[in-house]
């Protein structure tokens, strides 16, 4: 790898209270790379996302973005610097209208008019519902709205946590098509997914997490069913 990775975790330990969840995670994402973070329940996937997004301060180790050590930076500072996180569940504000949700995306430094234009061009359905409360839309539409932030604000890194949760397979496929489109624009993406198959088609690299450590990292195409089964079911 000639260019330095856009995002790197070095020996990160983190947890909640006295309980450690991550026991020294090493992870790196190259520029324009799509990395899938896989692992069974409780492996520490969401905690990893929390550490990268700045919501959880690691107890040890370093978070390095574009060569700079940003360990301990706040989530909002990282977000303004070009890190876009779509958290688990629905990454929207249910009691704000679609338009107000998009207004919240302007903290990234983009103009509201640009954001609206790009969003409505990509998802015309959101344009029709711009004055509707986001929480009253369907699950798929809500997830579109949360992806809209990633599409419209042109982030350097995109973190996706369980995008497919609670959605119909058809909609999941549609959403991942959008993720592929975002990646094609050169955005580096880290995708967390329990349904490994859905995401391996999009990803370049896959990282397998178990018990808070990286068990395996390699080309996405090389991860076979036997490896996954072993990790998920315990080998």
């Amino acid at each position: 790898m000639s260019t330095p990775p856009i995002l790197e975790l070095r020996n990160v330990r983190a947890g909640y209270g006295s309980i450690d969840v991550l026991h020294g995670v090493n992870l790196s994402i190259g520029r324009g790379e799509v990395v899938a973070l896989l692992g069974p329940n409780g492996a520490g996937k969401s905690t990893t996302i929390k550490v990268i997004s700045g919501l959880l301060r690691p107890s040890a180790g370093h978070l390095i973005v574009a060569g700079r050590d940003v360990t301990g930076a706040s989530a909002s500072a990282l977000a303004r610097a070009g890190l876009c996180t779509i958290p688990e569940g629905r990454g929207i504000f249910p009691n704000l209208t679609v338009r107000e949700n998009l207004l919240m995306a302007t903290f990234s430094g983009h103009k509201m008019s640009d954001i609206e234009e790009r969003t409505y061009a990509r998802f015309p359905r959101l344009g029709e519902r711009r004055t509707q409360l986001a929480g009253t839309m369907s699950g798929g539409e809500q997830q579109m709205l949360s992806l809209a932030r990633a599409l419209a604000t042109d982030p350097a890194i995109l973190l996706l946590d369980e995008l497919s949760m609670g959605l119909a397979p058809l909609i999941v496929a549609e959403l991942y098509a959008q993720v592929a489109a975002i990646a094609a624009e050169g955005v580096s993406v880290l995708v967390v997914e329990q349904f490994a198959r859905t995401v391996l088609g999009v990803a370049d690299t896959a990282v397998l997490l178990a018990h808070g450590t990286v068990r395996m990292a390699g080309k996405a195409s090389e991860i076979g069913d036997d490896v996954l089964a072993g990790a998920y079911l315990g080998s």
Binding site: S18, I19, D20, H23, S53, G54, L55, S74, A75, S76, A79, R80, C84, T85, P87, G91, I92, F93, P94, N95, L96, E100, L103, M104, A105, T106, F107, S108, R149, H211
Partner: protein
């Protein structure tokens, strides 16, 4: 018809003030989840500040207004958010509410200190005093028009800020999802600060308008907020338009009631009871109804992570504590002067009222702001029932008030958290406005509660009453411990931990809540019935209940010891004020200052102090040494070898500095043991050997001395013994996963789950 118009205008301008206050409450509640009981106090401080600038220092009105509303108020709001409220994330609603109570007490103390009541001070004038215009033949002062105009302007500005600006949208976004706001690049802390700043300005505006309309007095300005609660609740604590509507209705209701209450057909009494207090209770009646009309909140599923945890009290500890308490009180009561005896007695009364909150708030997690109301009812029952204060009368009084408590709880059962707390506040105000001013209750403003009569014992001196109070507290404390250890106690805790889980297990939430309220009301009633003296209705007002709730939480509302600590602290605050006149003003803001620090230590002070004694309690041999030492000091005093003050100094040093160090001392390496032991012995020798009643001339100096001795010798000895190697404490959750189990891990795990023999 003209009269109707007149009263409509009066009502709308009153409503305008309510609207401004209530909108400020809603803004902070929605953005930070904290219901700010101190909101009215902020308005009061602001009114005084404005008075200072405008009328005392003669600044022009626009400048004074600008400084107050656009500089000082926002600054105050921001400082409050940054240094007080921000530490409260993740604490329970009880703690959060208590902190605002603390702020409330702090601000009242501050105002009393800076602006002592002085009849000769410059008057607080209305805006454009003396100017009025005629509307439909009725003269409306400009002040009223300005008040009304302010509410309209506030409504428009809030609407624009919240819906058209990014900051406003972010304020609403924080309510929805704080983390997501951060992930969007917003800064929730800044948003909260902004909200608190706005809110303080709104409170300030209302305070100034109200002070012009009425008078510059602390009480009515502070209590304004209670009336505004009703408007905020009508707005469901989130909708501003509904809040404004509610405020308008409230103002009109008040004005129309005033209009018709003069009519000849209007009843002045009902069933022989006077209705004169109804008008002032009107907003709280509306509040109560508005609360009951709220849709029932769904039971929350999922675990709430609490920062507090309380151990189940053990019988051995409880009985030992109860006996020790009575022995200590008997021992020292002989040495106290009459006035100090009465102060300590007062402290025990507070402690009993505080104890009433332990089962209700500490165990069951139900917040009540009306403990003293039940105490007042208990006092009335004790004095009105036949029997002149014998044991049967006491029991009947307790039972009656317990039933009242359950009946009051009945309509409030569907409420929880802040809504329940407000309902009890409404109840407290209603009772003091309507019940306590009846001929049948406090007819002359005072009633005498008879002293409890027990067979074969006469209780006539203050000392005897003090001992009686300590015995009663000990008995009530044991009853509370018994409740906690029973089936009912487990239900109470289940109700607090997860109502949803408890309900799905088939437990009746209704019955459990009723029981909690009845027990709590009964204990409070007992405290009231034991008053044994002249009492006045002012003692049982809502505002007096607030410091009790506060100190219960400060002491640690989850334990009996916490209640004792909190109650004595409240009583002791007045002790401190009388014996240390130089710091008298500081004690006014004392309780508030203590409470504000709660965010850092939500479990309360007693738990913290208790933790330092825990190793001691686990070793009977050391308890014996500790008790023997205390008895020895007492014996020295009783034999007149040392003075009372030397006794006091020595026993405090013994209890706070030596005893907690005993377990570490016995466990330490021999060399260190000798060193630390010698150090402590020197401390005890100084404390006991010097005759402090003649060596120091002021009580204040002696108190400072005691603090100094405890710090020097207690902490010093602790330093020496604690240098010994620490015990290995890995998290038991990870043992076996990371590393192999060791003997220590197993011991630690056993200790954590309580199977150590």
């Amino acid at each position: 018809m003209q009269e109707l118009l007149t009263f409509t205008i009066i009502g709308l301008s009153t409503g305008a003030i309510y609207a401004v206050v209530a909108s400020g409450l809603v803004v902070t509640y929605t953005t930070s989840g904290i219901f700010n009981l101190a909101h009215g106090a902020t308005g009061m401080l602001s009114a005084f500040t404005y008075w200072q600038l405008r009328f005392d220092w003669d600044l022009p009105a626009p400048l004074a207004l600008f400084i107050t509303l656009f500089i000082l108020c926002p600054l105050f709001g921001i400082v409050t958010e940054r240094f007080v409220m921000r530490g409260l994330q993740g604490t329970t609603e009880v703690v959060r509410l208590s902190v605002t109570v603390a702020l409330f007490a702090f601000m009242i103390g501050l105002a009393n200190w800076i602006w002592p009541n002085d009849a000769s001070r410059e008057a607080f004038l209305k805006f454009y005093e003396g100017n009025s215009i005629s509307i439909g033949g009725f003269n409306v002062s400009w002040h009223r028009l300005i008040t009304f105009g302010c509410a309209v302007v506030v409504a428009i500005i809030l609407r624009i800020v919240l819906y058209k600006t990014r900051m406003g949208v972010a304020m609403r976004a924080v309510v929805d999802d704080r983390n997501l706001t951060e992930l969007n690049g917003g800064r929730p802390d800044r948003v909260s600060m902004f909200a608190w700043g706005i809110s303080a300005s709104l409170a300030g505006l209302a305070g100034i308008l109200l002070a012009g309309d009425q008078q510059l007095n602390i009480e009515p300005l502070v209590l304004l907020v209670i009336n505004a609660y009703a408007a905020a609740i009508i707005g469901r604590l989130k909708s501003l338009p509904l809040t404004f509507l509610g405020a308008g209705l409230l103002g009109l209701l008040d004005a129309y009631y005033l209009m018709v209450s003069d009519e000849s057909w209007f009843p002045q009494t009902a069933f022989g009871f006077s209705l004169s207090g109804v008008r002032s209770a009107l907003p709280t009646i509306v509040l109560f109804i508005a609360l009951l009309a709220r849709p029932q909140s769904r039971l929350r599923v999922g675990t709430t992570k609490l920062r507090e945890e309380n151990r189940v009290p053990e019988w051995r500890t409880a009985i030992m504590g109860a006996v020790a308490l009575v022995v200590v009180v008997v021992g020292i009561s002989g040495m106290l002067t009459r006035s100090n005896t009465l102060l300590l007695l007062n402290g025990f009364t507070f402690a009993m009222v505080t104890l009433s909150l332990v089962p209700l708030t500490g165990y069951a997690g139900q917040m009540s702001l009306a403990p003293l109301t039940f105490a007042g009812l208990g006092a009335i029952a004790m004095s009105k029932l036949p029997g002149n204060g014998n044991l049967v009368t006491l029991v009947v009084a307790i039972v009656i008030v317990a039933i009242v408590g359950a009946i009051v709880a009945l309509p409030a059962l569907r409420l929880s958290g802040i809504y329940l707390a407000l309902a009890t506040a409404a109840f407290a105000v209603m009772v003091s406005k309507i019940v306590f001013n009846q001929r049948q209750t406090f007819q002359t403003g005072n009633i005498t509660v008879p002293v409890l009569r027990i067979p074969f014992v006469t209780i006539d001196t203050p000392r005897a009453r003090l001992i009686l109070a300590s015995v009663c507290f000990a008995i009530l404390g044991l009853i509370v411990v018994a409740v906690r250890r029973s089936r009912l106690g487990r239900r109470l805790v289940a109700l607090k931990d997860s109502p949803a889980a408890a309900a799905t297990l088939g437990m009746s939430l209704t019955r459990t809540k009723l029981a909690a309220f009845a027990i709590s009301a009964g204990i409070a009633a007992c405290a009231g019935a034991l008053a044994g003296d002249k009492v006045s209705p002012q003692q049982y007002e809502f505002t007096q209940s607030l410091p009790i709730v506060l100190l219960a939480v400060v002491g640690g509302v989850g334990s009996v010891a916490g209640a004792l600590f909190g109650g004595l602290l409240l009583g002791g605050n007045s002790v401190l004020a009388t014996i240390v006149p130089t710091v008298k003003n500081l004690t006014k803001i004392g309780p508030g200052t203590v409470g504000i620090t709660l965010g850092r230590n939500p479990q309360g002070a007693a738990a913290q102090i208790g933790d330092s004694f825990r190793p001691l309690i686990e070793q009977p041999r050391l308890i014996a040494i500790s008790a023997a030492g205390a008895f020895g000091i007492w014996a020295l005093d009783a034999a007149d070898v040392i003075s009372h003050w030397s006794f006091f100094v020595a026993s405090v040093v013994w209890i706070l500095a030596v005893s907690p160090n005993l377990p570490a001392l016995t466990a330490a390496a021999p060399g260190r043991r000798v060193m630390a032991g010698a150090w402590l012995a020197v401390g005890m020798a100084i404390a006991t050997g010097v005759d402090w009643s003649s060596a120091l001339d002021a009580t204040g100096k002696r108190i400072i001395l005691i603090i100094g001795l405890v710090a020097l010798f207690g902490v010093g000895a602790q330093r020496v013994v604690e240098n010994s190697p620490r015990v290995h404490t890995a998290s038991p959750d990870l043992a076996g996963l990371d590393t192999d189990f060791s003997r220590e891990d197993i011991e630690l795990a056993e200790q954590k789950i309580g199977v150590v023999l």
